[in-house]
Amino acid sequence: MGGDLLARNRQGFRYTNVKPNYLHTFVGIGIAATMLLIFYLPMYRVLNESALIPINIFNFLFIFLLFPLQGPLFRKVCLLVAGNVVGLAWHFIKSSFGAVSVFYLGADAFKIITVVIGPIIDFVWIVSVWSLGLSMLASAQRRNEVKWEGSN
């Protein structure tokens, strides 16, 4: 067991040289831009900046830190779209929570909940979805490496 841990962590002389995949990045920019346009134009009445800013941050991080990495484009696109959907869902959950708090506790309570809990809730979904995406890409990458090592 111990040997396995050391072997797993060990870097050795191997450089993990990542060559950015620009094509995937451009595709990601296109998809993210399309989704943001949908959010900004037809849905702007139901979404305010407290929803759009976290979604923007998520898209920015996802495009420039996940799309350039090695891995299947289809998987990246699915994860990006899923992330945006989760962002929207979180916003609606947060808004529902706010509406309930206004109804029972008043407008001031809503403000406090929005300011204090809002960033934490946003943090939870952005980081979780981003980490999940990275995990899936890393697993795919590892499987490819094992396959490549096996064929040699």
């Binding site: 001031d108 204090v116 981003w130």
Partner: protein
């Protein structure tokens, strides 16, 4: 008054954004920009000066045998290597275990500190050991560490460059699967070394000497007066002294060493409190000389400034959060809605030993890890914990400044040797 608070809020938001940009640049650098390191060129491995390894140990009976066994397995030529264990007035079996090893292996020595002199912290023990050093290069390893066999070759190759005054290797957590805390520390280490230190080295900034898994030219460390016993972060103190003296520090990512990380929140608190206080001491001491220093480039100064202030960040994030919420509730000006972004940014940029989550994630990706990403959201726990730790540390420092107390107690991290079970070939020394 409201305007004044708004101005402070804007300043804080700018400060957070600077850190966010810094970490983003580091992450991209670690991913895509890599320069060759000296030991990757075969001819450099022929450069083998005499080296001394200092191992300060106070009550380390559970782990000292492990590192001493490893010192006998190093591939560095034994005739050019001396290992000095500094028994810092231990009251357990540390001294006996070390003495036993000296009898078997000629290159291992033990120096003892008397109960009157000992127990005053690692810097004092290292200074004591420095008196006995004969090698041209002096390395320090903590007693709970477990280096690669060829670590000294990898680190020493950097000293071929006369401008390099010190080197730093990579720290990896040995007992990672033990508890949630060890797993989170492993994530922090990944971000801190694989991305942060690596990028600093690549960009020609200020890689930090971490106090262990690293070394100096003996002439340099002696000219700097050794380790400062009044500093709780003597490693950061030395980092800046090395740069002020006109040398640089090189980080070697491939020179890996395993550490036994703290296992519970109490130990985490004690260890990080010492780091936070020490780092703040360094900030107070070195900020102004850093600004004035003429031998440093602008980018080194900027990086040095951000590095020195890094333990103030959790406090400022908390402050920005409270201030933002207050302004929003009391009298929201029309543009506060735009500044809304500052609050999430301040949180995102500060998670995980002050490194953002994406830095940690990319570090794990570069390490070829698979499952550890699932724990990244939990780094918010360490961030909130660090917020309390840093606030308490700052308050303690202010109190000691007011009361005129100069010396701070060195809180030693206890090691229980549970990491031994992860080392396949380790023969436990009883």
């Amino acid at each position: 008054m409201i305007l004044f608070l708004n101005l402070i809020f804007i300043l804080l938001a700018m400060f957070m954004s600077a850190y966010l940009a810094r970490h983003y640049i580091f992450t991209l650098t670690a991913l895509y920009h890599q320069k060759e390191q000296p030991h990757h060129r075969l001819h450099d491995t022929t450069y083998q000066p005499t080296v001394s390894v200092l191992i300060p140990a106070r009550n380390e009976e559970k782990v000292i045998g492990r590192i001493l066994q490893r010192m006998t397995e190093l591939t560095y030529p034994k005739e050019k290597l001396e290992v000095i264990v500094i028994d810092d007035a231990s009251t357990d079996q540390t001294s006996e275990i070390a003495e036993e090893n000296t009898k078997k292996h000629g290159h291992i020595k033990v120096v003892h500190r008397s109960p009157d002199d000992g127990g005053k912290g690692k810097p004092a023990a290292l200074n004591h050991g420095l008196k006995y050093v004969k090698g041209e290069i002096v390395y320090c390893f903590d007693a709970d560490y477990y280096p690669q066999r060829d670590i000294l070759e990898k680190l020493t190759a950097c000293f071929k460059d006369p401008k390099v005054g010190a080197v730093q290797g990579r720290v990896t957590v040995l007992n990672e699967p033990d508890t949630l805390v060890t797993r989170l520390v492993a994530l922090e280490r990944t971000g801190g070394y694989r991305v942060d230190q690596f990028a600093r080295d690549n960009l020609g900034l200020i890689p930090q000497f971490g106090g262990t898994v690293g070394g100096f030219r003996r002439s340099l460390i002696e000219s700097l007066g050794g380790w400062d016993v009044n500093m709780l972060a003597e490693d950061t103190d030395l980092t800046f002294k090395v740069y002020f003296a006109g040398y640089k520090i090189q980080y070697v990512n491939d020179a890996e060493c395993y550490e036994e990380a703290v296992e519970n929140w109490r130990s985490y608190w004690r260890q990080r409190s010492r780091w936070a206080k020490g780092h703040m001491q360094c900030a107070f001491r070195h900020l102004w000389p850093l600004v004035k220093k003429k031998n440093l480039r602008l980018r080194e100064k900027i990086d040095g400034f951000l590095l020195l202030n890094v333990y103030f960040v959790p406090i400022l994030v908390g402050l920005a959060w409270i201030l933002g919420a207050t302004l929003f509730l009391v009298q929201p000006p029309p543009w506060i809605r735009i500044l809304w972004v500052a609050i999430p940014i301040s949180v995102y940029s500060s998670v995980g030993n002050f490194a953002p989550f994406f830095e940690v994630g990319i570090g794990a990706y570069l390490d070829g890890r698979e499952r550890i990403y699932w724990l990244i959201p939990l780094l918010v726990l360490t961030f909130l914990f660090n917020m309390l730790i840093c606030t308490k540390a700052l308050m303690d420092l202010c109190v000691s400044k007011i009361t005129g107390k100069k010396r701070h107690a060195w809180t030693k991290t206890l090691h229980n040797g549970r990491g031994n079970c992860y080392i396949g070939n380790y023969n436990k020394v009883e």
